[in-house]
Amino acid sequence: MSSKKDPELPVQPKSGFSRRGFIRGVGIGSGVLGTTGLLPKEAAAAPGAAVVGPGPVAMTLTINGKPVNLTAEPRVTLLDAMRNYLDLTGAKRVCDRGTCGACTVLINGKSVYSCTTLAIDAQGKKIETIEGLPVNNPVSAAFVNHDGQQCGYCTPGFVMAAHGFLREHPNPTEADVEHGLCGNLCRCGTYMGVRKAVVEAAKGMKGGSNG
């Protein structure tokens, strides 16, 4: 395992498959636990604490209610694990530094940047992505109604951030939305439409689950 290059993609590709087809196939690989530690013996693990890696590690993530298995190095982010190992390409990789919000998913109901979360650290938590929402969910529908997107690249992140926001703020004003979605950027400048869309979505969700 090279430590020079980030394992954005699983290594050792099989032949004759598309990239995504291959990636999907990797699924439950051989979970190679790190046998040679990087630290000298003096700083070796205290008894009881499991140390894994730096090579690929078998892990299980709970995404949109379903457990999924993958084998990836500890340094693989949740975003790269979803996009490159699990064929969940809704969350987008843009800044990769926890700034733009295009990778936003919900973890245990709260919006987070999946580019700044390690996949191995997301185990045992409830991860919700854009793929888990019904196509006609109120937020997505309102984005369509109000031109809340132009190129659309930031939209999955905005929609997930809006879902997280609306769970805590069921009756927002446009100013609340502006403040509450300040962790997402849109290069096309569709903020006006996004604000209107989220206010409308909130009204549409009254009395029901907001998914």
Binding site: V52, E73, R75, G98, T104, C182, G183
Partner: protein, 320 residues
Amino acid sequence: MQAFEYANPNTLQEATGLLGAQWGDAGVLAGGTDLLSLMKENLHTPKRVVNIKNIKELEGIHRSGGGLRIGALVTIDELAKSHEAPRSLVEAAEYIPSPQIRHMGTVGGDLCQRPRCWYYRQGMGLLAMKDGKSLVPGGENRYHAIFGEGPAYFVSASSLGPALVTLGARVKLVSAKGSREVPVASFFVAPADENSRETVLRPDEILTEIIVPNTTMKTATYEVRQKEALDWPLAAASVALTMSGNKVTAAKVVLGHVAPTPHVATAAEEALKGQSVTEATAESAGKAAVEGARPLSQNAYKVTLAKVAVKRALLGAVKA
């Protein structure tokens, strides 16, 4: 990002046993918002990442005899919603954008995050030294320090630090060898050379909790930033006032993001003694707070922002 081994301890003892004597040995993972960025830029290439999020004793805000104990894993979001924490601390947490960062980021991480100085983040070193001289005074310094005489010109990135200093808070630092409590005021230091750091935290230590003494002081934080989206403040001020009637008997005024450490504005504290807080006295205190400022070539505007932050924090503190 360089490869690393990953440890998931359940106790503080296990966690401290996994750290090393050098910074490169291990990285402590809590919210990860700074650690992962540093690792992606190869500014920090730890051989081992120690996830401390499963250590239950680092969670929660608890009132005990001596005051409020805020666990290092308390998120910025939790602190911003706390009914227990002093107002200046809650306000400082509320200012931190964005929701995602508030959900992920922790109070321990706010204090331990590395400076945002773009020279440092571009890999030019904490002091950005070239041929024995800092590149900052003659370079791109619009977001840099307006206090201090170098060689450190970065500003402390901590948003909670100034409020914690005004409150007389301490941090607990634990290593495998033992623990120590350090006042937040002396946790932050201005490094004198490239081998030093901006806090007294050692590589084998974990910041486990913040201890905020019980207080009846009137407190507030005011922050000035360029935009509401994810960004760091240009200047901030936290104040804590001990009052007798409507007169200030003792004041703590600390500026953020204007120096390599939270900057105690002693002259402003003196100016407020015996005064009631009005537009006029708050403005005078603001002026006193920036006495001795030494702005660089591009950041004189920060002197005005710091002055205004002090004035507005003071007026906020006495508002019902």
